[in-house]
Amino acid sequence: MLEIKGLEKKFGSLHVLKGLDLEIPLGQITVIIGGSGTGKSVLLKHIVGLIKPDRGQVLLDKRDLNQLGGEALKRERMRFGLLFQDAALFDSMSVFENIAFPLREHRSDLAEAEVVELVKRKLLQVKLPGIEEKYPSELSGGMRKRVGLARATVLDPEIMLYDEPTTGLDPITTKAIDELIVQTQQDLDATSVIISHDIQSTLRIANRIAMLHDGKIVASGSPREFLESEHKVVRDFLTPALERIEINGS
């Protein structure tokens, strides 16, 4: 169980998280939804300890990640993979070097040929075969995101955190990435935490959904519970996405 208790964070006068509680069951897909600028990315960064909370805890196996320092924190972080919202690729490295980077750092047992093979397979999974030699600046936003996805998952982490994995992708690629996430989760029995604005695919792949609003988790439950929720904020958020589509023109 990944447990977040009473998380509070202020940036100057901006109170982003106001005592947020959330339980993330292991081995499942949890999707976090919420309006833009409500602090979803900030929450994700707290989970991997990139941001220190003003108050509150992030507990993994009952241990507070923020109490860990140095080597212990490094070891715990090995269990996580994080896809940044804007991919955060190393822009001085080629796509190949980016994806091979975690392997080179932590899997020195792999031979060069194995690394090449693994990178190739990862790129195929994200539907970008053969772009190894390109540099991040030569890629589109959606391509960068998928390279980031390949890099974040290349070590098969136990807990994968995705910050809007499919934002900016076309419907077909979105579906492929969704399937990849589900597949990864099933194959490795991994835990996935996804931030998403895509209600359709959220309902399709989530085991649990949590809604962030005004610095707190205001609702959480299964997709069905969510659809049937009477909570005003949830209703307001879901309604536009689930309305029948009105076609422009006649």
Partner: protein, 256 residues
């Protein structure tokens, strides 16, 4: 009055805290040097960038600094018929002062700024965060190789500066001022001691640490997009240059 005192107190406090963060980063970088994995690839890349790629500019500035020194001091010494010591005066000023200081300033402008810009950009685009998430210590990956490489390269570049400076001074002294070249070398031999060489190299080494640590620290602190990176880059050069000149005084005072 009270606000003035309060403001200067604030200034002192922020100076002390900045100094503290430079020292902390230096300590961390030093510790990371001795902890595996050693970043050979990064280290060699920095050696090349700082050492090899700076050598042209160091040769050029060294040549002209030595030449102008010889011209100025040679003309001044001629006033009391002592132009024979020109060579030794130039050699001493180069070794003890100008080579380490000028090399420090050149490397600060060329490499310290690049370090701040590179690391600063990585910082504001979350690449440093990405390193952390991948359990790679940014200090050991980014900072230690730079600090180590600069510390090693600075005394070497300073030697290059002195040698080319002496060539420049020789050309001016013999060619333009018409000093006898046997006397020129004899006086150098007479007045310059090994200790002068060592003192200069110690200074250069200290300046190497300053340039790299300041450059990296400013980059690490960079916030707020392109403007933040720009500010970090400027500050890296200004802080490093000022620190070099200030610490030069104290190092000199300490050495005699």
């Amino acid at each position: 009055m009270i606000t003035a005192i309060a403001r200067s107190w604030q200034l002192v406090l922020s100076f002390v805290s900045e100094l503290g963060s430079f020292l902390t980063l230096f300590y961390e970088a030093l510790v990371a040097c001795f902890r595996p994995p050693f970043r050979w690839k990064q280290f060699l890349k920095q050696l090349e960038f700082i050492g090899v790629h700076s050598s042209f500019i160091i040769i050029l500035t060294g040549l002209f600094t030595g030449a102008v020194l010889a011209l100025q001091s040679g003309k001044a010494f001629r006033l009391f018929n002592a132009e024979a010591v020109t060579g030794s005066v130039v050699a001493l000023s180069l070794m003890r002062e100008l080579s380490p200081v000028m090399t420090g300033l050149m490397v600060a402008a060329r490499c310290g700024s690049a370090m701040a810009a590179e690391i600063g950009t990585m910082n504001v685009t979350q690449q440093v965060d990405a390193l952390k998430v991948m359990s790679v210590d940014p200090v050991s990956y980014l900072i230690s190789p730079r600090v180590l490489a600069t510390t090693i390269m600075m005394p070497l570049l300073s030697i290059v500066f002195t040698v080319t400076g002496m060539i420049g001074s020789y050309i001016v002294a013999i060619g333009i001022l018409g000093i006898n070249d046997a006397i020129y070398f004899d006086k150098i031999d007479q007045y310059v001691e090994m200790q002068d060489v060592w003192d200069g190299l110690i200074k250069a080494t200290c300046f190497g640490v300053i340039v790299a640590v300041v450059g990296c620290q400013r980059g690490f602190q960079a916030r707020g997009g392109a403007e933040g990176v720009g500010r970090a880059t400027t500050q890296a050069v200004v802080y490093a240059s000022v620190s070099i000149l200030v610490s030069d005084y104290f190092l000199t005072a300490f050495m005699y």
